[in-house]
Symmetry: C2
Subunit: 227 residues, 2 copies
DNA sequence: CTAAATTTGTCCGTATGTATT
DNA sequence: AAATACATACGGACAAATTTA
């Protein structure tokens, strides 16, 4: 893992606190030493980061008292920090790890909240994927199947999480890997795995659904990354 | 759950496919009937949605052939669909459900990827939260603790998911509920639960860590929502 | 009012990894 | 390929200002 600029975590946490409104104008934020401890970085580094915010007049520091959030311009930071969130830089390996951790959890919610209409939608996607003539068409219905599953959780936050994963999946590096890894027999296997998952969801069999999800993802990872 | 406009899911799926680049210029998207089936909506509704995209010249339809992605202006849609993702409208109940599903999964990754430096950071946050004089200061360190946990997964996607949750947590409705629900004795209980979790993480005891997470979240939900 | 504790400001020496010569 | 210079981060120490007991 490459050594990223060492104050980055602190910066993101500060932005987060600004954005969420937890740190409002006039609020006294933790001391330099406390932040240094909490983020496992030296006070020198904390000071460098805070100096950046001070230059932009987002905070002010007074000796002997503490560090305070600027009183009049809390909107500047909103403009300054807002525009990320949608593009998450990640590697295929990281992505697969996250999917293996998160998707079984999503499946659990689907079992609790999914309706027969949702399961019907999933089956339509399976059927269309199976009948797809081209790889493009297959992936299209594969994507729609995943979308249908995420929506069956009936939870806006879960859907947002799924979109996050899916966006990362649309990245370049990933597309390259996939193109080379999806052979006709693997496609058949994927289709069977999808069917198994949808069936387990409809039966509300948590064990089976989780197993199917993990087995499928492990399969994809093996084909994609070789382990 | 409120009934959202019935073509919304389809619109979001289409935007998603544009954004991710899965549907490039000239691509033939699924037939109206297929979409109608896949999304559990009538073909009339599908046509209404598609008409919206056709008006904006993002797709073109030719009778007897299919619906095609516009050839020259795929950037328009990017501008048109990009700016959400950061603000997810959700209710406290939905949020708690999602947290109960996702956070145990995150915990699992922390156990695999966390380092002793990460666990030290968490303990610093616990200590500072315990020493906090005001409720504000307590919540500040509580937030930093959660951030430390999310970062200990050492996965950019997981961190993004956590930020999504945290953003939703910063919403108005949530703040109101919390203010009224955090009494001194509850705060003490939360602190103990946090300690238990961090200890389990450091010992890499998956069972204990998951139990601690679920117990804590269930506790928070009961205090917040009454069930 | 005094004194101790806390917090930011400043400087120094060291270690480590990177780029250049 | 080796040696040098540079940038970055760390930890410690002390001064100055403020808060608190």
């Amino acid at each position: 893992m490459r050594q990223e600029r060492s104050g980055a975590a602190l910066e993101e946490a500060i932005d987060e606190n600004f954005r969420s409104g937890r740190w409002r104008a006039g609020h006294r934020i933790p001391t330099e030493r406390a932040l240094s401890e909490a983020f496992g970085i030296s006070r020198t580094t904390v000071r460098r980061v805070l100096a950046g915010y001070k230059d932009r007049r987002l905070i002010s520091q007074v000796v002997g008292s503490g560090t305070y959030v600027g009183t009049d311009l809390p909107r500047l930071l909103q403009a300054a920090t807002a525009p990320d969130a949608s593009e998450v830089a990640t590697s295929p390996a990281e992505l697969m790890e996250a999917r293996l951790a998160l998707e079984p959890a999503i499946v659990q919610m689907v079992i609790r909240a999914g309706t027969s209409v949702d399961f019907d939608r999933m089956e339509v996607c399976c059927r269309n994927a199976e009948n797809a003539a081209t790889l493009e068409a297959f992936e299209q219905w594969d994507g729609l199947l995943h979308e249908a599953i995420a929506e069956a959780a009936h939870n806006a936050l879960i859907l947002a999480v799924f979109r996050l994963i899916n966006n990362a999946r649309g990245q370049e590096e990933w597309g390259m890997l996939k193109k080379r890894s999806v052979t006709p027999e693997r496609r058949l296997a994927y289709q069977a795995e999808h069917r198994t998952l949808v069936r387990a969801l409809r039966m509300r069999d948590l064990e089976a659904a989780r197993d199917a999800t993990q087995a499928h993802l492990a399969h994809v990872r093996r084909n994609l990354l070789g382990y």
